[in-house]
Amino acid sequence: MTLKLQVTASTTQSHRQVLADLAPINLSNAGDDIHVTLNIGYGRSYVYPDQLLLVASAIHGALARGVTISGTCNCTATCEGYASRMNFFEYINIAFHESFIRRSSLGKFLEISKFPDFGTGNELVNEIMKIFVKQNLTNDAILQSLSLTLAELVSNVFDHSQIEEGWLVAQYYPKLSCIRLMIADTGIGIYKALTTNPKNEAYKQLSPLQAVERCVEKGVTNGVGCGNGLNITSNLITQSGGILSIYSGENYLSISEGNRTSGACPYWPGTVVFLQIDSRASVDVNVINGGSTDFVDQFNSDMDDWFA
């Protein structure tokens, strides 16, 4: 198959619009030939790091499958340095001459990072926390909740996706008190992970949409885990009033400021989890983690002597 397509990533676009542009790449097979015109940024707008991650991981995945991808990348002046610092061009296999001095990103953001094992993934989580602290994010409850959530999401990639590779990007915008994070994989997706040989036979009856809708419920699992990872993630968003968007296969779930929507979306192989969080939010880590004040009080008497 030979095709030409345009992919646009800018702050004026939603994730679903970017996914729609990327769908032909995600559906391509070895031997296909794709000519892509990438438009990064548009007019005076910028580009979000998570949008760059979607494009980079889609193209990288297609190249790894044996798809031939050629084309051009049109980057606005405001975006090209940022995209380069994010290692975007490196992952899409485009040589880009940096006409600026690249300073260490440490303390600014976690650039688009591919992690091939859980150890590297966990180190990236630690790095993200250091970056946020360095940027004077002092809300300990948010930091702890985020590190817990990200550690679970990294674990999910290797427990469920059946692909030994994940993608991560993170940035904190101190002036906006806004954290944006995305973790993605191009594995088998939530529907297949949940419904293939589940311990709970009832899950075999779930539709792809139902699988995505229910993946955030406590205890929903194929039996490999306890079904906590995405539940913890959703608890964080519920408590903080932030945004959680999950894209997997042809379905999505979004929780935004207490409102929940779900439905069809352009195809993504595997799973994408996006978080946007207000760094000033007041949250209770124990409740996010599935505990409660009652539980801690009751359990203290049994367990305190285990911890010196």
Binding site: V125, N126, E152, G225, N289, D302
Partner: protein
């Protein structure tokens, strides 16, 4: 035996890592060695890791014996509470099956 958990990372966050560490713990217990889990330098323990590493020890050892033969040191409250939550969840699952 002191098991310095930081050697596995400051973020202990995956089930696969939990399997590896649990194997090490079980080997020590089989050799009749008491184990101290030194959590110094560990900032985060995920629920998944805690369940796989500590919770599933209950498949081989009852909780009272586990408390006699193992202990934690230098764990920050956040890490301690996550482990407690995971242990409670695993015990509840085991009770439900029984």
């Amino acid at each position: 035996m002191v098991l310095e958990m930081q050697k596995f990372g400051s973020v202990l966050g995956s089930r696969r890592l939990g399997v590896i560490v649990r194997e090490e713990i079980l080997n020590a217990l089989a050799a009749n060695t008491t184990v101290v889990f030194d959590m110094a330098g560990v900032n985060t323990v995920s629920n998944s890791f805690a369940d796989e590493c500590f919770g599933k020890l209950l498949f081989d050892v009852d909780f009272d014996t586990l408390k006699k033969k193992t202990t934690f040191s230098n764990s920050i409250p956040f890490v301690r509470d996550t482990i407690k939550i995971a242990m409670n969840q695993r015990m509840s699952m085991s009770s439900a099956i029984a």
